[in-house]
């Protein structure tokens, strides 16, 4: 543990954590655009800059990338910090005048319309990289990347064609602070051809990466709930059984064992992919299956393999 001061408040923080983490853990607000708890710090938006005094040296640094150290004195809203943040917001506003998050920040910090002009019309992307990082770090799909350099830098699918590795999970749209990633879940769609019009099932399309995939329907309620490639990827990555995603999250029922029917053969236990079932000894040849629901992922594999129909 190290001790530091943030806005004259004494704070203890874990060694190796960043100033942003320490501030947030103690309820001190620092505005950010490119930070997300699930992702590595990136330091792209520069909004989280703070003034850090270490000994005699004072620096302005992005708090999301700067590690805490013993005896630091941090100011999150000193005049120098506010001035710097205003410049950042002004630049962002000049690039993306129509983005709500930026407009809100500008209002908060009293930034008027920027006089700068980057010659870009209808630009929404602030290049925070959240979508790219989520796709690479969390989803591990690697479907999209930054393309180009300098003023031409954009986020795109490879070669600006349909993203091959995209699984349409929608994580990019979820993390994007500007809302420019367009993810639509369509109840039905149709394909027109000379042979006639063919109805196609529920689909998800992500316009930015030029992909569309069929959505899987829940076996129980029939509602579409996730794109099939997304489920395939999760199945493979977490070694789940193919039937694990047959049910949507709200229809997923944990299993119950009917002890009167159970003969204690252990077929459920042997086929459970997460070891959530065990046999309870009741003396003699009598053994009953017992479920540890904290481990059960409600895949109902055991139900399929129970020879006496004791699991429901």
């Amino acid at each position: 543990m190290v001790t530091l001061k943030i806005n004259n408040k004494k704070i203890k923080a874990n060694e190796g954590s960043t100033i942003l983490e320490a501030a947030r853990a103690n309820g001190i607000h620092i505005p950010t655009l490119c930070s997300n708890d699930a992702l590595e710090a990136y330091g792209a938006c520069r909004l989280c800059i703070v003034e850090i005094q270490e000994g005699k040296k004072t620096v302005i640094e992005s708090s999301c990338t700067y590690p805490v150290a013993e005896g630091q004195e941090v100011k999150t809203d000193s005049p120098r910090v506010i001035a710097g943040r205003k410049v950042v917001i002004e630049l962002l506003l000049a690039r993306c005048p129509n983005v709500k998050v930026i407009q809100k920040l500008a209002e908060e910090y009293g930034v008027k319309d920027s006089s700068m002009d980057f010659g870009k019309e209808n630009e929404y992307c602030i290049l925070c990289g959240l979508c790219v990082r989520a796709c690479n770090e969390v989803v591990e799909a690697g479907a999209i990347q930054f393309v180009g350099r300098g003023a031409d830098k954009v986020v795109d699918s490879p070669f600006h064609i349909s993203a091959e590795d995209c699984i349409a999970c929608g994580s990019c749209a979820f993390v994007c602070p500007t809302g420019i990633i367009k993810k639509n879940d369509l109840e039905s769609s149709a394909v027109c051809s000379p042979e006639g019009t063919q109805e196609e099932g529920p689909k998800r399309e992500i316009l930015n990466w030029q992909v569309e995939y069929e959505l899987k329907k829940c076996f129980k309620c029939g509602n579409p709930f996730a794109p099939i490639p997304h489920l395939d990827k999760l199945t493979k990555r977490f070694y789940a059984l193919p039937q694990f995603f047959n049910y949507c999250p709200s229809c997923r029922n944990y299993i119950e064992v009917d002890e009167d029917k159970c003969l204690g053969c252990g077929s459920c236990m042997e086929n459970c992919p997460v070891g959530a079932l065990e046999l309870e000894d009741k003396g003699g040849y009598d053994k009953k299956a017992k479920v540890y629901t904290q481990n059960c992922m409600a895949c109902h594999t055991c139900e399929r393999y129970c020879p006496v129909g004791a699991i429901s």
């Binding site: 070694y239 003969l263 204690g264 053969c265 252990g266 077929s267 236990m269 042997e270 086929n271 459970c272 992919p273 997460v274 070891g275 959530a276 065990e278 046999l279 000894d281 040849y285 053994k287 540890y292 904290q294 481990n295 399929r304 393999y305 129970c306 020879p307 006496v308 129909g309």
Partner: protein
Amino acid sequence: MSVYDVAIVGAGPAGLHTAICSARKGLKVVIIEKRKDISKMTRYCSEHIILDEGYNGDTMIVEIGEELNADGFISETSHNKIRSKNFGWEVDYVGPLCPVRDKFYYSADLKHNAHYAWPDKHPFAWKYDKAGLLAQLLKIAEDLGVEYLTETTCYQAMDNPEGVTLKCVSRGKRFQMKARKLVEASGASAQVAQSLGMNEGRIYFASALTRAYYMSNVKDYSPAEWCGYWGLCYGSNFAPLIGTGPAGHFDWADLILIGHPAQMPGELFEAFTKKSPVAYMFENAKIEREHSCTTKAYAPMKVPYKGNVLAIGDAAAFVETQMQGSLNCGFWAADALEKELDGKPGFEEYTKTWQETFEFNDDGMMQVQSGYALIPYYTDEQVVYLFSLLDDVTMNGSWSQYDSPRMMWKEIHKQDKRIQEERPDVWDKIVNQQGKTLSDSMSQ
């Protein structure tokens, strides 16, 4: 941190024999077993030592310690020895044995049947006490210093070049374990192999939901017989079987019903004991004990190892490796492990032996399954006709699930001309039967 040389998942015959043979070579071994007490069988097993010459590439020799008693059994105190003829290992077994001398496949009218027996009626299989044998093997293993974890499930393994990390759960608590080599011996379910992707590319036939009833006072029951009943009138697509009762109660009949999710074995019981032609046998019968199990029938793995993981016994095979096949696997696995830990390609050698030895590794063998897909492909009357062709024949005593149907069809095909003349409808079906498998009988 020191790690185990070998972790074995599953304390069945294959796992325990691997543990014993490896420990004798000085390896540090741990066994992970899901059950609390393996000396109590809760999962159903037919429990036979099969003596067929060359069955699963080996011939078992059972040296009985005592003579048959007045009931025709070998008593519980007998010190027997189970030996492999081809590979030279032996295992001591103290416990009861019951000889199986006749095998009948009955058709709907009970008169016509396929009969397997040796001319001098010497047994082709021994019913034994599997739980007792496992307990004895476990004792040997523990005496050799093998560590034994009960009530522990290994549900996933991660393979690295340095070794294998096992993810385990015991009584709801999760933990990890490291070993240099992993032996997957957890039977047909083989969760660990599945999690490592070793099951990819295997053909899945069906999951047999099996329920067995040990019943006393069954009429016309003989402990030395193994009977199957083919016909829709018996209620099931897969023949209900009546075999020898459990160790200690050889006088009970063992009624085995195999179903699938659309035809649960519990429902088959009603049909078989109340409405079928053999209902008379069960008029005064009483259910003494019930058992069940589910077996997943997969085609064998092409290669039974991947990285540091070796799958043995039923985990790598076409369901029924049987006790002797498992013991063989364990014996070879120990050799392979010793070599692998020395940096030599032991698993490759194991694979070679394994592929050459077991019958089910032959592609043509999968076709043999069509011998078990009689129902509902043939009507009851057609099965009666087919079996009537075998009236004058007694085939050699054989338990083998590969040889038995092959022998039967060989005999039937001797009379091809007669079938073509008498029953063109049956002949048509025989011609088209090629390629039928268990999945056709037990499709879900």
